[in-house]
Symmetry: C2
């Protein structure tokens, strides 16, 4: 039995999980692949940190780039992270030197996926990144292989477990954003750069990858519209519930004659939608296609086990001899899609205004909406807060994004309006 020799770059949570699986399930994996998976070397920024596992049996490299040059390495596993720097160099050098390449790095693939896939293709070597999106769900394989008979039209989902946890906790505990943010920090759930979670960037990376695999278009992260959850207040969650909705941070990508739409932002989704009950650290993805209609996938989004499971699934696939293009079509067949701007969105909106209670406020607000032709479906105002201010909640009929934003700019300039008005897009999925 010829072994497959791998080198692991990065020994954080995921790297440790990969080693655990490969050690614990070595016989099972050998039976499934017909090959023994052999870890020949590991590397990380800190050699001596206690990781709860013994790595003394593996060769240590101070410089991960050595992996790309070693003759005794068949495959490099990149678990370092970051869109550029050493992760990118390692990818490029590994592929150029004919090492197959597996990564969990969403930033790397979102930014440089097409370029790296080209290099893999040129060198006739496999590159895989199942773990980069929704670790617990084999969503990239499902889209690229399981649903390959379909022309896919839309893919969307809850792609960031941390913000989903925060929104779930706000609803469950009745605590406001700031308090839950502090708790989430203490739990260690936030990325080292919290903006990646809170501003929707992590979800944006994942969405760019999903859209690319689903539609056969080159990853275009620069044109992903991203808006995070920082402006969501408890009052929004409570009014949403009263209106029959829940608030979720969704990534939505669709390809139509108009072009490629890619957007990450909080949404009001109907309580009864399957995605509405996906809570806490879970991820979920919905894929629409012309023959399957709609399919739905849910699993844990992060953590040692699920992400490591996805990395090892890629290793197993390659050990089984599966090759083929990283994005499931040759780079030459991938389209460059025209981006659709968020300002072209049509749909209903939830609007939250925080105003001083004084005569004429509502008249001014509704005049601003009328001037932009935005018609209201629901308006709620339920008495004042202790400080004499009042929340005004509105739900519009289907309308054009630009009109809503223009109206909100006008409303924001009114002296009686306190906070910047907030619009949350309603997605009747």
């Amino acid at each position: 039995m010829k072994s497959l020799k791998i080198a692991i770059a990065g020994l954080g949570t995921v790297g440790v999980g990969v080693i655990k699986i490969l050690e614990e399930h070595s016989a099972m994996i050998a039976a499934r692949t017909g090959r023994r998976i052999e870890i020949v070397a590991v590397s990380a920024s800190n050699r001596s940190r206690d990781r709860g596992i013994d790595i003394s049996g593996y060769d240590w490299a101070d410089n991960v780039l050595d992996f790309a040059a070693r003759d005794d390495v068949d495959m490099v596993i990149e678990l370092i992270g970051g869109s550029d720097g050493v992760a990118k160099e390692l990818a490029q050098q590994s592929l150029s030197n004919g090492k197959s390449f597996v990564t969990a790095n969403k930033a790397l693939i979102a930014h440089h996926g097409a370029e790296l896939a080209q290099s893999a293709e040129d060198n006739n070597i496999a590159m895989r990144f199942e773990a980069s999106v929704a670790g617990g769900i084999p969503i990239i394989k499902s889209i690229g292989e399981g649903l390959a008979a379909n022309r896919l039209t839309k893919v969307y989902g809850i792609l960031n477990g941390t913000t989903n946890y925060m929104l779930s906790q706000m609803e469950a505990t009745g605590k406001d954003y700031g308090e839950i943010l502090e708790e989430t920090k203490l739990l260690g759930y936030l990325e080292a750069d919290p903006s990646l979670d809170l501003d929707g960037i992590d979800a944006g990376h994942k969405l760019a990858i999903l859209g690319s695999v689903a539609f056969g278009v080159k990853t275009d992260f620069d044109n992903v519209y991203m808006e995070g959850i920082r402006r969501i207040k408890l009052v929004d969650i409570e009014y949403a519930r009263e209106l029959g909705y829940r608030i979720k941070l969704l990534g939505i990508s669709s390809l139509s004659d108009a072009g490629l739409e890619q957007r990450v932002h909080p949404c009001l989704v109907p309580k009864s939608a399957p995605i509405a009950i996906v809570d806490n650290g879970f991820n979920a993805v919905v894929v629409d296609g012309d023959y399957i209609d709609r399919t739905f996938y849910e699993g844990r989004g992060a953590g040692e086990g699920p992400t490591a499971s996805a990395v090892v699934a890629d290793i197993i696939d390659i050990a089984r001899g599966r090759s083929g293009p990283a994005f499931f079509v040759p780079i030459g067949e991938m389209q460059e899609a025209r981006p659709v701007s968020i300002s072209d969105r049509n749909g209903p909106y939830y609007i939250r205004l925080h105003v001083e209670e004084q005569p004429g406020v509502i008249a001014d607000i509704t005049a601003a909406l009328r001037d932009e032709d935005v018609s209201l479906h629901i308006m709620l105002q339920k008495g004042s807060e202790q400080d004499g201010t009042v929340y005004v909640i509105m739900v519009t009929h289907e309308t054009h994004e630009k009109r809503v934003m223009n109206a909100l700019d006008q409303i924001d300039s009114l002296s009686s309006v306190i906070d910047k008005p907030l619009a949350i897009r309603i997605e009747n999925l």
Copy 2:
């Protein structure tokens, strides 16, 4: 570009769907596989039936077995159905003659999967059956490849769309079983032999396949416990709802030190469980593994589009050069698992009794339960029916299946008990 030449046996809904996809998406599929998929011949029991598509461009075979012998056929697609007879012969002959073999036939794989996989292995040829379970969900690929890093412990789900439709409709319309059965017949949703749906046999076939793929054990359909939905009354659905549950026909398979458990029967599942809100023609599968924890998949269970999509996904996989064992491990590595009997189940039970309202009835019933050590958690009795009879609904604490069934036998022999008592297993998933 070398074409892949296929022959399609069976031109019912699924066969027609396969032709539609291959015709409509031929360019897309060629881009994805690097090969043109060419339909060289078709066959069905009736040549002239109007199928809504033109099949005059394809060679017609009066005898499907000819496909296995033709030099110009690389792959045979079997969409005839039935566990034996011509479907099995076609499978055997195709594999022996080195044709790759794709089927949607759950009965064939549930009964003869291991034998056919052995033949595929002996002839070094691919056999695939993604469409045999939950067409709209790529569940076999997800389990066998996407989750291959895990030791899987349990797989369960809603595997039969027709009975799920019937249960959903009973709840939605407040009509009783008999009326919904008639409506379902008129809609053409039932198999030609309705027992396959109503008695859980179709779900049993699918469960045997899922368990085999998930646990690497040989399909053992003979040891699947099957109980259908014929005894479910509207009153059960209503009481279940009141108790915080919904009734679903589940297939449940698990592998433990005790052996392989495989059972299909109606269950009370908590309203809040993801599987509880899967309605009408949808299927859903939950897979538990040691590193992924829990993953959930939902999609359309049947119909032209989803099932044909799964068949074509298999064709694409093989066209891409993917081979490997049909059950994802070589037959020699597959275990023969000791079956666990349904009578070894432990858990809570919902019990529905229909009795004449007379003194001493409840005393006799509770005495029978006491004699078997079955303790009650809840008991509901809400006034009499118009005919003076009364429903008594009980929920037990966790107990042993044998004890419940013994107690119900005793209760059944009481003169005041009208219908045969019904127990529905409660699964707190």
